[in-house]
């Protein structure tokens, strides 16, 4: 890690998020370099989504507040918008930063056709004719594995299955050639086949464009397989940042417990599934 000479794309130091008076994230830090793929894992409610939203500048100013020593994005210093209440009512995107949200069902605009949504982003990123944009859009839909891009261009989101929507979202988010793509549980609604293939597509695209990736997931198998670095969160804190291929050597007890609980097809044969409690209990008896 120390030898990494790539440019830092995102630098977050000591970031805290409060909902009202309740802290959701306390003192988070992370550093992301060009082309790096980073996963954020952790228990439900540990503040992963809040962290991602704060970085992208989408925290709801009515309920949340953000403080940080440093929240820098190479292409645009972010400190200007750190207090959500000072933000304009319609959030302004940080140039070069795109985000795919957790909720594929509701994140696409239900009243516009897929084609128009994709074309708008394409034409926003580059000057091109409507015809060229449509052609490019079809190509991009095909690139994310949509079998029938012509029809999908004309369809509205409600006419698509969850998997298709997820792919369309990725296609749209990548259409503006972002330097950083944040993806919040992009595969949660998908079964394993779709999850893997979707993930693969996203990473291939990111590789092609040199995009850095920050992905939130609860699927440890996926992050092990696709990412360079894993950040583990627990109760609003970053408890561990570790290279993904070294996850099995994690030192933090929470990370280790979490890893032990991951169900696999093998665990199906066990009489009882392991849980954090049972592991702790086992460790206690072992220690005793």
């Amino acid at each position: 890690m120390t030898s990494d000479t790539r440019n830092i794309v995102l630098d977050v130091q000591n970031l805290s998020i409060h909902y009202g008076d309740a802290p959701a994230v306390t003192g988070a830090y992370l550093t992301l370099r060009e082309g790096e793929k980073m996963a954020v894992v952790g228990e439900s409610g540990s503040g992963k989504t809040s962290l991602a939203n704060a970085i992208a500048g989408f925290l709801d100013p009515l309920v949340g507040s953000v403080r940080a020593d440093r929240l820098d994005f190479r292409y645009a210093p972010l400190n200007r918008s750190i207090d959500p209440r000072r933000q304009p009512r319609i959030p302004v995107r940080t140039p070069g930063m795109s985000m795919v949200f957790q909720d594929a069902m509701h994140s696409l605009d239900p009243v516009w056709t897929i084609g128009s949504q994709l074309v708008a982003v394409l034409r926003g990123a580059e000057r091109m004719t409507a015809r060229a944009a449509r052609a490019a859009a079809v190509k991009r839909l095909a690139a994310v594995g949509i079998a029938d891009p012509g029809r999908v261009m004309r369809a509205r989101p409600t006419e698509l299955s969850g998997g298709m929507r997820q792919r369309v979202m990725i296609a749209i988010a990548m259409a503006s050639h972002p330097a950083l793509l944040i993806a919040d549980e992009p595969t949660s609604a998908l079964d394993a086949t779709l999850a893997v293939s979707t993930m693969q597509l996203m990473f291939d695209l990111a590789d092609q464009e040199g995009t850095a990736l920050l992905m939130i997931t609860h699927d440890i198998e996926l992050c092990r397989r696709f990412t360079d670095t894993t950040v583990v969160m627990h109760q609003g804190r970053v408890v561990e940042t570790i290279a993904s291929d070294r996850l099995d050597h994690a030192r933090d007890p929470y990370t280790r417990g979490l890893l032990a609980c991951v169900p696999t097809l093998e665990t199906a044969t066990l009489a009882e599934l392991p849980t954090l409690q049972s592991i702790a209990a086992a460790e206690r008896t072992a220690a005793a």
Binding site: S44, A192, E272
Partner: protein
Amino acid sequence: MTVRSVDDAGIRVTDLGRDFHRVQAVRSVTFAVAPGRRVGIVGESGSGKSTVARIIAGLDRPTRGTVHVDGQDLRSALSTARGRREYRRRVQLIAQDTTSTFDPRFTIRQSLRVPGQRLGGWTRAECDTAIEEIAEELSIDVSLLERRPAQLSGGQRQRMAIARALLVRPRYLVCDEAVSALDVSVQGAVLNLLKRYSTDHDAALLFVSHGLPATAFITDELIVMYRGEIAEAGRTTQVLGRPTDPYTRALVGAYREMESARSGA
């Protein structure tokens, strides 16, 4: 397709279909769940799993086909108030939607008392005892019972829903994505509990999920649905071990691939 011949006991679903306007959510589904057995349904999103679950639970009407529970036709069972009560005591559902499964106006305890009083005919005190027992089994803090649903996390709400379904000790329990909102550790605990419940009370489980490992852990038999029809069915180990249907093969393959990638690492 394995349609096991069973006697009257158990759930028997015959040629079930359900249309929503022009969408055939379920085309034709036939299967049976014997008492005490644990059957899983997997399949991609939108393949009709939840629809089947809701029909069996008596919350939706089939367009075609029949459902028999312990020999009694679902339609006739649901046609009288008494029949409905009797049916609900027998068949319970844990629904997929965790956000609104409790009426926001009532505390969890108030909501949990209802099945006890309506179906079990218990007094308030009896209900409360039963509720606290079950809460303990699901490692739910008793203080949470006094909260309203909005004050709980998704995982907590899901456990409360499980508690409500288990309260009347149904003979048939339909679980629709009952563990999807939980993180791996809590998920494990709940799955352990459901399995124990099934064996202890000789209750049948119909376990709908898209998580293969969890399904593999809890079920004996597995049905794979694809676009409103059963693509493949059989013993879980058999289906997962030697899948014949292309969709199943791909599904299992994806897991195997990941796991082998891990053990390879």
